[in-house]
């Protein structure tokens, strides 16, 4: 089963479950003696709904959810904000590391350049071993 289908199945079951609970709430909010049978049925639908959701667990055992997402949901915030912040953080860190790497490369070339002036023979040997470095 494709990944999207697995999620669709879970989503569908969750939607049905939520809808059933909502209907249960409507019955209970203004209860009439005649609606006892309907209430009993809804309660059993709730159990079967939970069974269906539990079955989906087997298909999604390889999915891991970061705990931070739950914090967002608990605070009543959109969990997509977590994804957004993760992407922004990743890009910022990526740029930071790239900057460091570029700076180190520049430093290396300058150091080789200066060392060549002071120790030309040794640096010639070094270059023979290492080969010519590409310019940064």
């Amino acid at each position: 089963m494709a990944m999207a289908e697995k999620f669709d199945s879970l989503e569908e079951h969750l939607e049905k479950f939520v809808e059933n609970i909502r209907q249960l709430g409507i019955i209970v909010s203004d209860f009439q003696p005649s609606s006892q049978a309907g209430l009993n049925q809804k309660l059993n639908f709730m159990v079967t709904g939970l069974q269906d959701i539990d079955k989906c667990r087997q298909q999604l055992h390889d999915i891991s959810v970061p705990l931070e997402v739950f914090e967002y949901i608990d605070q009543g915030r959109n969990p997509q904000l977590y994804t957004k912040e993760c992407l922004e953080r990743a890009l910022a860190k990526n740029e930071q590391v790239k900057g460091k790497i570029d700076t180190m490369k520049k430093f290396k070339s300058l150091l080789i350049q200066e060392l060549t002036k002071v120790f030309p023979e040794d640096m010639a040997k070094y270059k023979a071993i290492r080969g010519e470095d590409p310019p940064p």
Binding site: D30, T48, D74, Q80, I101
Partner: protein, 286 residues
């Protein structure tokens, strides 16, 4: 001098700059990181060969491979995440949880700690229950016999919905036109009002007639309602905008049913309900 020798002993590795050049063993990034395989102590024969190859330089290591993935490449493009980046970072993501789950009933934007419904508490203190769900027997269901009557207001959490912002349609004409000086109430105003009052019942009649015509037309051909949130199953709308849910045969939609109510055509709840609408399926499925 003693201090100097203590700090930089003969067997000490060269400084970091030299290590960066490949002269000596550079410290791996991050404390406690395992040394690379090249830094591991080689066998004595191999060491001698390396010394010969290195010439006057000691502790010469091989440079890291250029194929290694580092931060110098754009990792978002490397992992094909441009679409996700543009989706989430290109436009403003709405802050509230109800914007992400617009069809969920209740006040979901409130913190979970308020009503002890947080997911974290569910993880930290999982409910004590069995591993399987068993249907309730008739004897068990006797525990759910309720008294007739409405719930008190403070218990009606299900019906509370967050206030939705409505787009106010501002009249462009009133903006563009110059402000009209307020007229003093005169006879002409009264006449206008009277005229309006006279016209109103006629208009109402006309509207009613139109509505009747429309309803008649719909009853003959079922209309497929557009789904706003979940475009999974378009469902045919029964007549008179009655909204029915996924119900068993015994609770199939009828005029006085608890689950049938009149909703406006563009109501979000309507589109939600349509997910489970359809011919009542025999008992199962809910």
């Amino acid at each position: 001098m003693e201090n100097f020798t203590a700090l930089f002993g003969g067997a000490e590795p060269p400084p970091a700059a030299a290590a960066a050049l490949g002269f000596g063993p550079a410290k791996a990034p991050g404390a406690g990181a395992a040394p690379p395989p090249a830094a591991a102590a080689p066998p004595p024969g191999e060491d001698a060969a390396r010394k010969a190859a290195a010439g006057p330089f000691y502790l010469l290591r091989e440079l890291p491979g250029t194929t290694e993935l580092t931060g110098s490449t754009n990792l978002i493009t490397h992992y094909n995440l441009e679409h996700a980046y543009n989706k989430f970072c290109g436009k403003k993501v709405k802050e509230k949880l109800s914007n992400f789950l617009p069809d969920l009933p209740g006040m979901i934007d409130l913190p979970g700690s308020h009503d002890n419904s947080s997911l974290r508490s569910l993880i930290e203190k999982p409910p004590i229950c069995g591993s399987s769900f068993t249907p309730l027997t008739s004897t068990m269901l006797t525990g759910f016999r309720l008294h007739a009557g409405p719930l008190p207001e403070q218990c009606r959490l299900m019906h509370i919905q967050p206030p939705k912002k409505k787009n106010k349609h501002k009249h462009k004409q009133s903006r563009t036109q110059d402000p009209v000086p307020p007229e003093t109430p005169s006879d002409s105003d009264h006449k206008k009002k009277k005229k309006k009052k006279e016209e109103d019942p006629e208009r109402k009649r006309k509207k009613k007639e139109k509505k009747k015509k429309k309803v008649g037309g719909n009853s003959s051909s079922c209309r497929v309602m557009p789904r706003t949130s979940c475009p999974r199953r378009p469902v045919q709308d029964p007549e008179l905008h009655l909204c029915s849910w996924h119900l068993p045969q015994s609770c199939a939609p009828r005029a006085g049913n608890v689950f049938s109510r009149v909703l406006p055509t563009n109501s979000p709840r309507r589109s939600r309900a349509q997910l489970h609408t359809g011919p009542a399926q025999g008992g199962g499925g809910c």
